[in-house]
Amino acid sequence: MNDLIERMMIRAFSNPLLDRRHDGAVMPCEGGRLAYATDSHVITPLFFPGGDIGALSVYGTVNDLAMCGARPKWLSAGFILEEGFPMEDLWRIVVSMSLAAERTGVSIVTGDTKVVDRGKGDGIYINTSGLGYVPDGVDIAPRRTAEGDAVVLSGDIGRHGIAIMALREGIGLESSISSDLAPLNFMAEDLVEAGLDIHCMRDLTRGGLASGLCEIAATAGVRVRLEEDAVPVRPDVMAACEILGFDPLYVANEGKFVAILPQEQAEMALSIMREHEQGAEAAIIGRVSDTGRSGTVTMTSSIGASRIVHMMSGEQLPRIC
């Protein structure tokens, strides 16, 4: 075990704080506020088009911190390995985590590895938690969402969920759809640094766009109104959803978020997002409205009628015909 940690983890994640080899990491603190987030990853398959559990476990926590308006700085990594898990797969995952950390500017400063008996785990589980600084004056939280705000989406939705689904269930699609897995911290930081009065940000992971917005509407007690035609969905993702009977609004993403901010700042937020590669398809998709029941999300359908958008209940199950 010691050998494993030494040869893999310490080597891949090397940084001054980790290299002290203490029971915990001791970090400098500059005063001000910290954001703290954690995320556990228990996915199948471990490797998928566009990423793997390693990169996902780093970006997951980095993105959660970024949604608080924080600059992610330090991560912990906890591994639970099933006995017999291939070492070459572990190495691939560890290297991927190290690259993801480097790309997002965070250091993995403390960690833990445990092994469970064969049959008592699903290959590998990874938990990460992270700390980041929140700049002075930044206050980003669902409760700040207010009437008159615009909802800006950072790009097209549904790619991660469909990529995983296609692989897991062996559905042969003509084009290969890759996950949208990406770090969001630089895009979020640019929005914050531009001085925009961002009221809320939310990354749209499990449960998709619909569930993210329903949670915000419920927490803030506001009404969110979406335009179906304004929500970007790639044609191949749309086609897969049509075949399976899925609604792309509920399909998971790993590199998309919504920013909610005053209407008059929406165009500026849009142009900042579009300067980033993964923000090329960013769009203003709706607004926080003053009509309807509070705590709900409604959508104008492509033919101009109105409907309620609900929180996802359970898993979406493919239909019969």
């Binding site: 044609p235 029941r293 492509s302 101009g304 409907r307 493919p318 019969i320």
Partner: protein, 365 residues
């Protein structure tokens, strides 16, 4: 996206809406037979584009919803047996039986698998020769050819460990049942486009004539449904009780000959009990005697199960189009997609699920 987005065009929808308004002179009640159409109507808000003289009534065309609780109980019983791999389409997994559903069996350690095609179940049977693989064959005429193909394939491969629990049902007998009911208030039908893509629409001509109702074979996209409604309204206003085909890009009068041939080879028409509609003579498909070895009902003794349904669920009236889902006292409170009392709240084609998903905004406005 080609072949989809052009059928969801707002301007064209508004044009159809105007045409329908021009044609209507009195109240009409039109039943869309298929649950897929119900979902399109509720999801896109198609009914909001119709004049108040028109009422759309949601029909019994949700295969998951009309599968009787006896059949779900048999599935649960077989899936719970040692050594069985039980395969089902996704929407069937959460449908409540008397005491349990298939997801409950899976949670308790049963090997229940969601498949996308009966052929996946045949492959599982090949890969697991020491296990019994059972496929839950639910659906209308649309999915029957693929089920038939799976049986034929299992015969070719001489698979002794493959069987299916067959609960296929047929649309025309259900339309007959709706029309002969004394509570029937339906003036015209939108027939289920995908069922007709397999079967054609010749068998609907005697129904139109006998009951004096126009029937329009209709697709599933918003513009399909609006055009189907427009065609149906024109026939109603002209008093012409005939069958017309809106879904011409998919459906022909004669249907798909080879698919029909496969259904006839493997299945025979049998009596079948429907949830909500009760027993309907000659309304289902069962395996022919020469394929009896693949009948899971025969292979596993599942007789003697005691069946009971929630008395608080009005799915029968919903499936007959007598009451709307939101007229049920349990709707949205006691009965939700997370805790369904009846199948129409579960299936992606169920009317209750459609109302809950796209219309329900809580118990107060």
């Amino acid at each position: 996206m080609r072949f989809v987005t052009e059928y969801r065009d707002r301007k064209a929808a508004e044009r159809y809406s105007a045409l329908i308004r021009e044609s209507v002179t009195r109240d009409w009640r039109i039943m869309e037979v298929c649950g897929g159409q119900t979902h399109s109507i509720v999801k896109y808000g198609i009914d909001q584009l119709l004049p108040e003289e028109l009422t759309l009534i949601h029909g019994p065309g949700c295969p998951v919803c009309v599968t009787p609780v006896e059949m779900v109980d048999q599935a649960v019983e077989i899936a719970s047996r040692e050594g069985v791999i039980f395969c089902s389409f996704g929407d069937m997994l959460r449908v409540p039986g008397t005491a349990n559903d298939l997801l409950g069996v899976k949670a308790a350690g049963g090997d229940v698998r969601m498949v996308y095609s009966p052929m996946d179940a045949v492959s599982l049977a090949r890969e697991n020769p020491d296990r019994q693989v059972v496929f839950f064959a639910v659906g209308f005429e649309t999915t029957a050819p693929v089920t038939a193909a799976a049986v034929m394939q299992a015969r070719r491969l001489e698979l002794g460990n493959f069987s299916m629990l067959v609960s296929h049902v047929l649309v025309p007998p259900a339309m007959n049942a709706v029309l002969s009911s004394p509570e029937c208030a339906v003036n015209g039908f939108l027939a289920a486009g995908h069922v007709c893509s397999v079967m054609g629409y010749r068998e609907y001509e005697p129904i139109a004539e006998e009951y004096g109702v126009p029937i329009v074979v209709t697709g599933f996209e918003p513009l399909d449904i609006l055009e189907g409604v427009h065609m149906c309204v024109e026939l109603l206003e002209d008093g012409r009780n005939v069958v017309r085909n809106q879904y011409r890009r998919v459906v022909t009068r004669e249907g798909n000959g080879s698919a029909i041939g496969m259904i006839r080879d493997v299945f025979q028409v049998t009596d079948r009990k429907w949830r909500g509609l009760g027993p309907i003579p000659m309304s289902g498909l069962g395996l022919r005697d020469r394929y009896r070895e693949f009948d899971a009902g025969v292979r596993f003794d599942v007789s003697g199960l005691t069946v009971s349904e929630s008395g608080r669920c009005i799915s029968g009236e919903v499936l007959r189009g007598v009451r709307r889902p939101d007229e049920c006292p349990a709707f949205g409170g006691e009965c939700t997609p997370e805790h369904p009392l009846g199948a129409p709240m579960v299936s992606s084609e169920g009317a209750c699920a459609a109302y809950y998903r796209y219309r329900f905004s809580g118990s107060e406005e």
